[in-house]
Amino acid sequence: MEQWMHQIEQWVRQQPVEQLYAAFAVLVVTIAFFAILRLLKPAKSNTIVLAGLSGSGKTVLFYQLRDGSPHQGTVTSMEPNEGTFMLHSEMEKKGKLKPIHLVDVPGHSRLRPKLDEFLPHAAGLIFVVDALDFLPNCRAAAEYLYDILTKASIVKRKVAILILCNKTDKVTAHSKEFIRKQLEKEIDKLRTSRNALSTADIANEYTLGVPGEAFSFSQCRNKVTIADASGLTGEVSQVEQFIREHVKP
């Protein structure tokens, strides 16, 4: 063994200096190249965006997923809430799970442009709907959902969407089937009025659905599913399922 090392040493000493330098430089460059490649490789995104009208319960849901309880309550958000963490219910589980990056975007209409900052990185979007106070806000919710479904960053990347009916712990909350049907009807109406605005409505880049047929969520290019939850009491299992599906460990 030692003799072998000694022989290598002697051989190395015998090489001209320039060659040694060249070899060394090539080695460094190759290592650097691989390092950069590793860094720049787009990692599979782990961002989930929570969107919805103001008052639908996004911030409560955010803290429920993160800490397991909504603490002392929430008020209308003025800024997005972001966090990268393991879901609270999965804290006990052993095993290597990727932390999710959850973003809660304010629902107030003046803060809508903030949503566009997070969408390009989203792996999934949860659209939270207030199941309790649904009918008065049905039109506004449908408009917001329509705007989201026709954004280029959503359609092109085939981002999965979960329509979450929140506040189902209350007795008078509507069922998710009812909400789905109402939203489909409203979006259908929106489709006709928006399409009537000819080619230049710059807000909507894609059209939804099949012309001539009533709109249904199964016609969307993205996968749209619908689920129930209750942010206050902690019934968020369906949400967590969706999140885990789309943020692969």
Partner: protein, 621 residues
């Protein structure tokens, strides 16, 4: 006694609260109508819980560095003097124990109770000292001290001695420079959000304390800038008989070849003698895509920096070092020069002075105490903050998709009624015709209602437009009650299945009491779907006065509790201003209503949507 004190993050999580449960949702109302509307520099906020609940006043403080908001709620009938003091103390103490990871701060209860006792004790002392001082000063300063106490929301008397004169003008030099307090100056109660009835109370001190002179009268006597040429009845000058044939004026290089004289050759009764071909001028600009020039702006802050010699106390090198290291904490002195430059810039773009001032204060309130990021200068931070604020204000609060609303009304089987209101000569009738043309292009049947029964030629003007567009017009001639004419027009529209009714009203000055009452009657009687305020882009500081007075009159003279206010703004004569687009900002800020249309010319196709980003860029260039 304080009803409640809340501490919450800007993201919405409540960190600590103390006190009784509140009726209604005052905090949400505060955030929606005040803090998000860039009015955070005001001193307090009034909230009336719906269905006859309690009436609260709210005061707030920010900690911009940590992103916390502190709100104190108390009953309006109590004038607590120590609230500002208490909020500042709470902010100081809480920021010491704050930790972004923690969400429960139970130990703060004790600290808070102590702070509250101290604040109350201080307030008691101050009141006693004020009472003993008041006796000798009674003679000359009755107004000042009395009003100062009355404006119960003022905490620290030492800072606010001069400000005590709420409701008085800046011009009233005798009582010192009471900087136009927002709660004094905003005598027009701004009602910009409808649910639940929320009033940012300007005139808390309605009746003056000592009755030496009537504050209201002073307000009226205050000279107004701008359009007060004819306060009487807004008579337009009579059209002179045309003796000389006028030559067409050529605006740009391509002369228009269509003839401009559309008067009916034969008779005056308005029967259709000549059959005009339906006017088709191509696609209305509403539907055209606007190509936004998205090149990045050059850094013009260099100029700003160089024009302010010697305002730095810290020395150039250390401030440079700090801006690189990124640890400088912004305080008022740092922000003042940058904000002043910004305010001047805004005012050169024709933003009303009051609005520019309030905006700058609101931005200052949101930046104070924040840590500068590394490699950023104060001016660029201020610029970004102002840009965000402007973007927020100009983004519409509710959907401005009129076509959707029209379809919704169509389903319900009733016509969609739009009323155009505004002062004289802003372009209501012209833009009404443009809107009609746009709606016609989307296959919606329109009917016009000529409720301008005062100005000579108004009905004929609309009749001509109606004939060119080939739509029905409902008119009853002159000297009739416009409210009745409107009502009958709507009935007629539902009978002949028109989808939209566009109601033209006479122009009126905002101070003209009988005319404003007539307008209010028209709106209340007919309950239109959209009240569109037509304002011209050339208006300067008067925009503030016009809109606030219109809203105030509509609110005061309405018979129902939820008064109809201005729902949207139509900005006209936009082609006459090059880049002085500030009127749009003033109008939107003061009324909270979105700009739905922009008129940029006198032909039918000259109607556009407001491009928020380009306006913000132009304002800050």
């Amino acid at each position: 006694m304080l009803e409640q004190l809340l501490i919450f993050t800007r993201g919405g999580l409540i960190l600590w609260t103390c006190g009784n449960a509140l009726k209604g949702s005052p905090i949400d109302a505060l955030i929606r109508s005040c803090l998000l509307e860039e009015r955070s520099a005001e001193t307090f906020f009034s909230y009336d819980a719906p269905a006859g609940g309690a009436a609260y006043n709210l005061k707030w403080a920010f900690h911009n560095d940590l992103g916390l908001v502190f709100v104190a709620v108390y009953q309006r009938i109590l004038h607590l003097l120590y609230v500002d003091d208490l909020l500042a103390a709470v902010r100081r103490e809480f920021s010491q124990i704050y930790d972004p990871k923690r969400t429960a701060y139970d130990e703060f209860d004790e600290i808070f109770r102590q702070l509250q006792k101290e604040a109350e004790a201080r307030a008691e002392e101050m009141r006693k000292s004020k009472q003993s001082n008041r006796a000798p000063l009674m003679a000359g300063k009755k107004q000042g001290a009395g009003a100062g106490q009355r404006a119960g929301s003022q905490g620290n008397a030492k800072q606010k001695g001069g400000k005590g004169s709420s409701g008085k003008d800046d011009g009233d030099g005798e009582l010192g420079k009471g900087r136009g307090l927002s709660n004094g100056q905003e005598n027009g109660t701004k009602e910009h959000s409808r649910a639940p009835s929320v009033v940012v109370k300007g005139k808390e001190n309605g009746a003056p304390v000592s009755g030496a002179f009537d504050v209201n009268k002073l307000q009226k006597l205050r000279p107004k800038g701008g359009k007060k040429t004819d306060t009487g009845t807004g008579k337009a000058s009579k059209a002179e008989p045309k003796k000389i044939v006028k030559k067409n004026r050529v605006w740009d290089d391509s002369p228009s070849d269509s003839k401009l004289d559309f008067t009916d050759p034969a008779d005056e009764k308005g029967d259709e003698v000549v059959d005009f071909g339906k006017a088709d001028h191509g696609e209305s600009m509403m539907d055209k895509e606007e190509i936004v020039n998205s090149e990045s702006e050059s850094e013009e802050d260099e100029e700003v920096e160089s024009t302010k010699p010697g305002t730095k106390k810290k020395g150039w090198f250390s401030s440079m070092f700090q801006s690189i290291a990124g640890n400088a904490v912004l305080d008022k002195a740092d922000l003042k020069p940058a904000l002043k430059a910004l305010k001047d810039r805004l005012m050169t773009k024709n933003v009303a002075e009051e609005i520019a001032e309030k905006l700058c204060e609101s931005v200052a309130a949101s930046l104070e105490g924040k840590k500068l990021g590394s490699f950023t200068r104060v001016s660029s931070t201020v610029q970004t903050a102002m840009e965000e604020a402007l973007l927020r204000i100009l983004t519409p609060k509710r959907s401005i998709d009129i076509l959707r609303d029209v379809h919704a009304a169509k389903e319900q089987g009733k016509p969609y009624v739009v009323v155009f209101v505004g002062v004289n000569g802003v372009g209501k009738s012209t833009n009404l015709a443009k809107v009609a043309y746009w709606l016609l292009q989307h296959d919606i049947s329109v009917m016009m209602a000529a409720c301008d029964t005062f100005r000579s030629g108004a009905v004929e003007q609309l009749r001509t437009h109606a004939r060119r567009l080939q739509i029905p017009i409902f008119e009853k001639g002159y000297e009739k009650d416009p409210a009745i004419v409107a009502r009958e027009a709507i009935l007629e529209a539902s009978r002949n299945n028109s989808d939209v009714v566009l109601v033209d009203t006479a122009g009126r000055m905002q101070d003209n009491e009988p005319l404003m009452r007539a307008l209010s009657k028209l709106i209340n009687l007919n309950n239109p779907d959209l009240v569109l305020f037509v304002g011209e882009a050339l208006v300067g500081n008067d925009a503030v006065d016009q809109l606030s007075k219109f809203n105030q009159k509509l609110a005061d003279l309405s018979t129902v509790p939820n008064a109809r206010l201005i729902d949207g703004i139509l900005l006209t004569k936009f082609d006459t201003i090059d880049d002085k687009v500030g009127a749009a900002l003033s109008m939107v800020y003061i009324s909270g209503a979105p700009v739905m249309f922009v008129g940029c010319g006198q032909s039918y196709t000259d109607l556009k949507k407001l491009n928020v980003k380009s306006i913000v860029k132009t304002l800050l260039k």
